[in-house]
Amino acid sequence: MSVSVTADDLEGNPAPRGTNYLNAERGLVSWLTTVDHKRIGLMYLGSVLVAFALGGFFALALRLELLSPKHTIMSAGAYNQSFTLHGAVMTFLFIIPSIPGALGNFLVPILLGAKDVAFPRLNLLSLYLYWIGAIFTLSSIVTGGLDTGWTFYVPYASTTNTSVLSVTFGVFVLGFSSVLTGLNFIVTMHKLRAPGMTWYRMPLILWSLYATSIVQILATPVLAITLLLLMAERVFHIGIFDPVYGGDPVLYQHFFWFYSHPAVYIMILPGMGIISELIAVHAQRKIFGYKAIAFSSVAIALVGFLVWGHHMFVSGQSELAATIFSFLTFIVSVPSGVKVFNWISTLYGGSIKFTAPMLFAMCFLFLFTIGGLTGLFLGMLSVDMHLHDTYFVVAHFHYVMMGGTVTAFLGGLHHWWPKMTGRMYSERLASVAAALYFIGFNVTFFSQFIMGTRGMPRRYYNYLDQFQPLHAFSTFGSWLLGAGFLLMLYYLLKSLKSGAVAPQNPWGGRSLEWTEAASPPVTENFTHRPVVTEGPYEFSRGQS
């Protein structure tokens, strides 16, 4: 079967390309009113990348402020706004919609052998809702900002003068976008599989998107009602959370984290699905333990609903509740561990090509493992007493969310770039960018683990002099990360203009997007209806 092909192998003039989904219809209106899942996915991609750049800008700003204690480039109030908006933009406008919206929308129908999702117009509505929610959220930047932290804890959030209402309403609308995407994926996977595509012949990314969709459907409405109650508290002072009017601020925390903990599984599960694909294809090896990985996704989704209290160990909840949440937190880590072992087992004996997607997959294994293990430290009640609200927590969640999800997202972006755009990027530059990313990430965030254990609190504008060297080191890391992302932007955009024309199957994949769909695909995805006769990881016997 074919082996990996990179842009360096291809040369010569680009062949003229036929009609595909990119050039089938022209004009801005055809894009804005499309029901083609691939175009919608591409528009999501552009949108989340803009959101990522904005969130990243806030990150660089706040890290610059933290270069030295006390005032460096901004006031304390401005600093509060920087970390709040960094968190809100990254969580709600980037990471939650990123993989399902940008890659999922593009891939789900093709991987199933379908022409589109079950409800194409609902898909377009999801995109519109994303933009509307984004407008409300981002408008707060110019109308008064937001300084509550992305978690909007009351009573500060119900009394502060900043634009809490527009952000909470924006996030409320974004929630609908998320729910409708999840709904669409579940129905599509149940009803639109091609002949011969049994559940156990689906590529594992679909299992993970299915599990993600379950979480989206069950958890997001709880966020919706939490935000509605917060808005009512703020405007009408109904007294449900605000102690001044007889309410309970800890109730807010329970409500908020009941969504927001499952939300982190919405973030990581699709990333894990991508890793299964990257490792199998770029090591040309059948995935080890298919069913274990598939069912562990569902297990994470379900058990993830039971652990929200681990964000509240110091909130005053009872010892019994805290103990139960701690125990369940340890349980929920097990399925993730199963996946990591299975991926490593897949690599063993494989024919590994160090392409950019494989580099990102390996980064993931390293970074996500650290992130996951440090979560266990935080899950231990006694240890959490010392680590809660320190930089240790900040480092932990950046290792899982950025080191995990963003790494997987970048790997997926590179892996499916030829399929989506019909172009190859420069492998050489991609390797450099991956290296900058990996080194920059560890410099930025590993130092934060150390700071946290030594007592540096999170969200603090000013800090003791003894922490300055570590803060400076971390800030320097953020510059490396920024450089890596700029490089990525450069070579990806360049590939669109002058990259080599991509073949249908540059990596030797065996799932339907590689075997049956062109690069880029036609609007209906396939020229004839695919019939599936084997699983998605049947690589030729030559590589064993």
Binding site: L122, N184, V222, F236, F258
Partner: protein, 189 residues
């Protein structure tokens, strides 16, 4: 299938409110019992009957669409709309009464003659739950007008009645939520 999944999300949405109600009721039991006597059970009961009838007319509308009885379908959708108006009218009267007596949430609670201090909390939950439920009725009415228009244009028949059936499911859920709301808010004590 899509509609069923959407209804699951609605159950979670209202579930959060029911949870808040349960928590506060267990903490401020006496206040809640005292406060709930100020709700008009007769109006609440009438509203319950009104909504159940509207669910019936909706179910019959779906059945008549399945049998391609277009005129009957329009009449039944109209009946459901009319009953929804009655529901909202009664709710409006109830709300007016509350405003008049100062029986309002949290900060705005000004009514006299209460023993406990947390009656405002009861009304906070009452207004949030019935308010959000009312918004769902309004949205339903809008959707019904759209469905009525489609039916009058001949777009619904035994071959294609899925939108009406899906809406019927939604409407039954709205009814079901009220059937839970009414006893919990108005009756138990």
């Amino acid at each position: 299938m899509g509609m069923w999944l959407f209804l699951v999300t609605e159950i979670l949405l209202f579930g959060g409110l029911f949870c808040a109600f349960a928590v506060f009721r267990s903490w401020y039991y006496a206040d809640f019992v005292e406060a709930h006597h100020h709700l008009d059970r007769v109006m609440g009961a009438v509203n319950t009957v009104v909504l159940i009838c509207s669910s019936l007319s909706m179910a019959l509308a779906v059945r008549s669409a399945q049998m391609s009885k277009t005129r009957l379908t329009s009449l039944l959708i109209g009946a459901t709309l009319a009953l929804s108006c009655v529901f909202l009218a009664i709710k409006f009267v109830e709300y007016q009464h509350k405003f008049h007596e100062g029986l309002l949430p949290g900060k705005y609670f000004t009514a006299e003659g209460f023993h406990g201090h947390h009656a405002g909390m009861f009304f906070a939950v009452y207004f949030m739950m019935t308010g959000i439920h009312g918004v769902h009725i309004l949205i339903g009415m809008g959707l019904m007008l759209w469905l009525l228009r489609r039916n009058l244009r001949g777009e619904l028949s035994s071959r294609y009645y899925a939108p009406l059936e899906g809406f019927g499911l939604y409407w039954h859920l709205v009814d079901l939520v009220w059937i839970y709301l009414f006893p919990l808010l108005y009756l138990i004590g």
